[in-house]
Symmetry: C2
Subunit: 367 residues, 2 copies
């Protein structure tokens, strides 16, 4: 099978050493050896989430943990406020709708960030709201929403702040406990440098209290049972053993590099991408004030077929960038990820190939 | 990390070549290459399930697919009949309860099989039943329930037959279409010789019709969306890419060996275990008439501490057998698996070590 360089916002390339760890001979999950791995994984995940709360690990993709935060913390008919400005915010909203919640949907134009003031107004209007749903990095538009400011608002209300940080964690800052974020969910195939297949969720004390009230059905994604099991370094159901062994190694790498340095690296890489695409004469889709460190969205220049551009990069250079998602953005933007294990050299390869392909396609730049 | 021989009923040892496939450089799921893998995987899974219906693959453990079959095919208040004779049958029942269904629970003593006649009587009594929940291999007691005979009963009723075949598929025969089983669910870490982390479900035509009626909430495990995506060799959410690449390879091995031969091999291996433990003077827990080919349950002989027995096998011989599950069986039985990639030689290693350890512990056999 041909090997590609993935500059996509998940899955990302997984370092060889981590892949090797996922392929060690199978171990049994009800053993002291695996319990020790789970204990270390939970300890190190807490650092990544910047929380004292246990971090639950599920065999699932990130959407599973988003759904779990709805089904475990809310009840039929509860009013929740969804803030969306792209595909991922809409997904969180749609999950809440699928569970029969009374969803008040606030939609910000694509490419823009939601504001804390908007959240304040919405909570004023809907003071019975049980939850506020937001996204850290809206991967579809490369926007980071101001979680810190939003948390300052929700903390003063009775609504839980639930943050989909699937693609943003470790790329854009998110200090769960310090900022007062109630629920954070994440996935494995982004900043954590793993294959997809693990989902994570952490609840602060306020969210943990809400577990008692929820009457929505759940079983596989049962937070209460999962939290009970974590205390014994166990899981309620057979865990994703091979990915968790890889995760243990990935978390060691993360600790060795240091979380501050990791966020700074992502920021530097995203800025390097921004500068390079501007130097090519391309236009950024996202305002720099709210641009994520995880991924950069670039407008497909007029006269260029966006689909053809990505195809040429893939076929001639073995490089995969992401296109625009959904009707609004397909063919109009492309996205270059800087998350996880993606490094400067790989980004440079991607940018060099991008320039070549644009030239082949007759793009004259801004000159 | 110390390497163990797993003679446990999932996870099982995964062949080295399959592990290597799970660790190839990450590929992106929205590419022609991965679509081709998904297409082949679905085609070969249909053979394993003995069905023409598409087989859905989820990033989850088997319990996720059990839950999905409840949440996608039933509605609030529906009457379902659960037949259980061990931990796994009870789990299926408990999932139905968690979703607020009207569950009629028929409990057969541990170690025994449920009978088709029992199902017939229950359906007579509860003619409005929407589903019958049963287990193919009740791993906790090493019993296989008579699915073929049960399906002959449910086919004549309006109740869907939902079979948890997580640990039994490919070990005990299950011909989904021919027998008229409506729903079959499975997991990756048993007969399919993979690490845990993938769950599967297939629905026949009758079950597919039921999708339209269901009003229970679901999102991540949405069968309708998953079936739509399968037609385009896609998945609604990021799939468990690395495990699916391994699965493609495992399914090729399975096709090469042949499904009839695989069931026969499991049967021969289970019988060899039965004979060997009887020759040691040990007593089987399960009646031979309903014993599974996937796993064999053995009574811990009097005077022997079952927990200590397993510990010695693990520490001195690097061999992991499974103990009894739940209060009723913990310390009273141990279980030796013959499923998946476990071969004769490995079973022989396990039995030789078992004999040694029993001798060390002062066991005099039946002589």
């Amino acid at each position: 099978m041909k090997e590609y360089l993935l500059l996509t916002p998940g899955p990302t390339n997984v370092p060889k050493r981590i892949l090797e760890k996922t392929a060690i001979p199978m171990i049994h999950h009800r053993t002291k050896e695996f319990q020790a791995i789970l204990e270390r994984v939970n300890f190190n995940l807490q650092k990544v989430f910047f929380t004292q709360a246990p971090v639950m690990t599920f065999a699932a993709s990130g959407t599973g943990a988003m759904e779990a935060s709805i089904s475990n913390l809310l009840s039929r008919g509860d009013l929740v406020i969804s803030f969306s400005a792209g595909k991922w915010g809409e997904r969180f909203r749609d999950i809440a709708k699928a569970y029969g919640l009374d969803v008040k949907s606030y939609e910000t134009p694509y490419g823009e960030a939601i504001s804390a003031e908007q959240v304040r107004q919405a909570l004023k209007q809907h003071s019975s709201a049980k939850a506020v749903l937001v996204t850290l990095c809206e991967t579809s538009t490369a926007v980071t929403h101001p979680i810190r400011e939003i948390a300052a608002v929700t903390q003063g209300s009775s609504a839980l702040l639930m943050v989909d940080a699937v693609s943003g964690l470790m790329c854009d800052p998110l200090l769960m406990d310090e900022w007062g974020v109630d629920v954070v969910v994440c996935g494995s195939q982004k900043g954590l440098m793993l294959p997809p297949g693990l989902a994570f969720a952490a609840l602060n004390e306020r969210a943990t209290q809400a577990l008692l009230r929820s009457n929505l059905p759940k079983f596989y994604f049962n937070f209460t049972e999962t939290l009970k099991a974590i205390k014994k370094n166990d899981t309620p159901f057979t865990p994703g053993i091979s990915l968790i062994v890889g995760l243990a190694h990935a978390l060691r790498r993360i600790q060795a590099e240091g979380l501050d340095r990791i966020v700074a690296r992502h920021q530097a890489q995203a800025q390097a991408i921004c500068q390079a695409v501007k130097a090519l004469g391309l236009e950024l889709y996202t305002d720099s004030a709210c641009a994520s460190n995880a991924v950069t969205a670039v407008k497909v220049p007029s006269g260029i077929d966006g689909k053809d551009l990505l195809k040429r990069l893939r076929q001639s250079h073995g490089i995969i960038l992401a296109g625009g998602q959904g009707k609004e953005l397909a063919g109009k933007i492309f996205r270059i990820a800087s998350m996880g294990a993606i490094d400067r050299q790989e980004i440079q390869l991607g940018l060099t190939a991008l320039e070549k392909v644009l030239n082949e396609m007759g793009w004259k730049g801004n000159g």
